[in-house]
Amino acid sequence: MSQNTTASTLLRNGFSMEAMRVYFPFLVLVIVCIGFSIFSDQFLSARNLETVLRQTAVLSIAAMGATFVILMASIDLSVGAVVGLSAVIIAYFMQSLGIAAVPTGLVVGAVLGAVIGGIHAKLKVPSFIGTLGFMVAGHGLMLHITGGRPIMIRDETMRGIGSGTIAGVPSIVLIAMAAFIIAYVIQHHTVLGRSIVAVGGGEVVAQRSGIKVDRIKIITFMLAGIYSGLAGIVLASRMGAGSPTAGTGLELDVIAAVVIGGTPLTGGMGGVVGTAIGALIIAILSNGLNLAGVSSYSQMIIKGMVLIAAVIISIDRKKIGIIK
């Protein structure tokens, strides 16, 4: 805390402070990495770092979108279902359309996001419940479409996206990076991004300041849907299939990544830089525990505790104020 204060006196304006805050999640990342490199020789190998990045791709893309929703102080439990639906629908249409089916994933995400956002904004259904409903219904729909069996993807281009590299970097990692840069620009340099932060910081104030709050809510859920759709494309290419259980449980990892990254569930502050680090932490945790050969029962216990510890270190209590 005192370190924080000293640092803040050194810095003059709000944006450097913003930059400072990113170091807390980063600190957690460093601690976790040091920890694992002690228990496993392979952990810091180039090959494993590439693996970790691959494993982070889907999570981080989905979490970028969810960051916007959480910045707005809403929550999205439907992430996993939308990612899964996108993957399943792509795989379904790929059987007839081939690689041309890829954009359907984005369309699915955008449409679902708009519907979810519309229900939330216009019918005033709390986002927790609205998205919970879509989570349950979405998984049902995936089972309908697949008939309970994974739909294999035979298209070589699609499979190549999942497994290939470009200039030595896995292509899905490049996709995730591009998604991050776009999210960064949206958050920090666009009217939409600032409006999202404003709605999260105070909906009534935003409304009174002339922001069309309902419209921003719908657009934000749509944006999150598009990100989930993209995550679904990456998932499908990585798995070579649209599986009826694709994306199950992803929403909790996504929310954990966002919060560890320093965006509180009360919204209005934080952002995508922290989320990228948060997603890495979550992915590294699974990877590192597996590498260290920890039994899967113990892994669950350790993961739960590390999650709490990470948040203890990373969140900025002073700024958040009341913690709920």
Binding site: R47, T51, G162, S163, R238, M239, G240, P244, T245, N290
Partner: protein
């Protein structure tokens, strides 16, 4: 329109194996003139118990039960006994022997431990695997744990074989993939992958391809269409399965019981069909294609005591092999 109902409280329906199981049972129910009411507990025991209670209230005449756990099996059998509903248990041991209550007619099972054992044996003895990793199912579910036990047993019988590690995947392709990625990073010497289910194995195949590793043999339980394709492409060395017939035979037992015919044995044990690459063509033409064309794979009337009292269930309840 109101046909008598038979209840089928399923543990999960998001998996190719159980979808085949239900579809096969439906063809039996249809042939005998029942409505098969299927529920999905989504792997939650309390939900399965509730589903069973509800099915009883819906007035089912009999039930085919695959309990999520032994205690649940006992609870269910007692509950069904009180309600006077006959039950055939499939797949998972319900904690009590047939006849524990008079309504518990039969147990049709696959020996999961043996299945896990045989798959591991194939990898060890036929494929010469020495350093094995296991891709498991769901922690705490008996089928999953028993298959693991069988695999470990086989490995223990061969002193030259090491089981490097076993991790769970919730039977999913995605977790199979990421678990395998981590195995590949951890162990340079993996030459065999044992799978408790075929979906996670498909995920493991993708990881191995991505990592550019060769010379790793994979085999596992559950014959699904997608897995057969991989078998054909030499990405898998063997698949064990075909036990999705259990539910359909359960319907036969119930049907016969309701018509006054006791079944012949308390326990029927399905021996798995072990499929390797050379058997694929036959398997497709004998099983997959007829199924796809909507043909019933079994002449249901012919194996029912109700239509032919000379039938012996023990002779006719078999895994369907090409």
């Amino acid at each position: 329109q109101d046909k008598p109902k038979i209840g089928m409280p399923m543990t999960t329906l998001n998996d190719a194996f159980w979808v085949d199981y239900v579809n096969f049972a439906k063809s039996a129910a249809e042939a005998y003139g029942y409505e098969l009411v299927v529920t999905d507990a989504q792997s939650r025991e309390d939900k399965q118990l509730s589903d069973i209670e509800t099915l009883v209230n819906a007035g089912v005449k009999g039930m085919i039960l695959t309990p999520l756990s032994e205690p649940l099996g006992i609870q269910a059998i007692e509950l069904l006994d009180r309600a006077g509903v006959p039950v055939v248990v499939t797949d998972t041991f319900p904690g009590v022997e047939v006849g524990y209550k008079p309504n518990y007619l039969a147990f049709i099972k696959l020996d999961d431990e043996t299945a896990g054992y045989n798959v591991a044996k194939h990898l060890i003895e036929k494929d010469g695997v020495k350093n094995l990793v296991g891709i498991g199912g769901v922690p705490g579910i008996s089928t999953s744990e028993a298959r693991n036990d069988g695999m470990k047993k086989a490995a223990a019988e061969h002193s030259e074989v090491t089981v490097l590690d076993v991790q769970y995947t919730d039977w999913t392709l995605a977790k199979g993939q990421s678990v395998m990625e981590d195995f590949l990073t951890r162990f340079d010497n993996i030459d065999g992958v044992w799978g408790a289910g075929s979906d996670p194995l498909l995920g493991a195949i993708v990881s191995i391809e991505n990592a550019g590793r060769s010379g790793i043999k994979l085999a596992g339980i559950d014959i699904t269409e997608a897995a057969i394709d991989s078998l054909e492409e030499d990405k898998l060395s063997m698949l064990a399965g075909g036990h999705w017939v259990m539910g359909g035979y359960g319907v036969t037992i119930i049907h016969d019981y309701l018509n006054g015919h006791e079944t012949d044995q308390p326990v029927y044990e399905m021996s798995l069909y072990y499929l390797t690459k050379d058997g694929i063509d036959d398997y497709r033409s004998a099983i997959i294609d007829p199924l796809a064309e909507g043909k019933s794979l079994v002449d249901w009337k012919a194996i029912s005591k109700t239509s032919d009292s000379s039938v012996n269930h023990a002779d006719v309840f078999q895994v369907i092999a090409p």
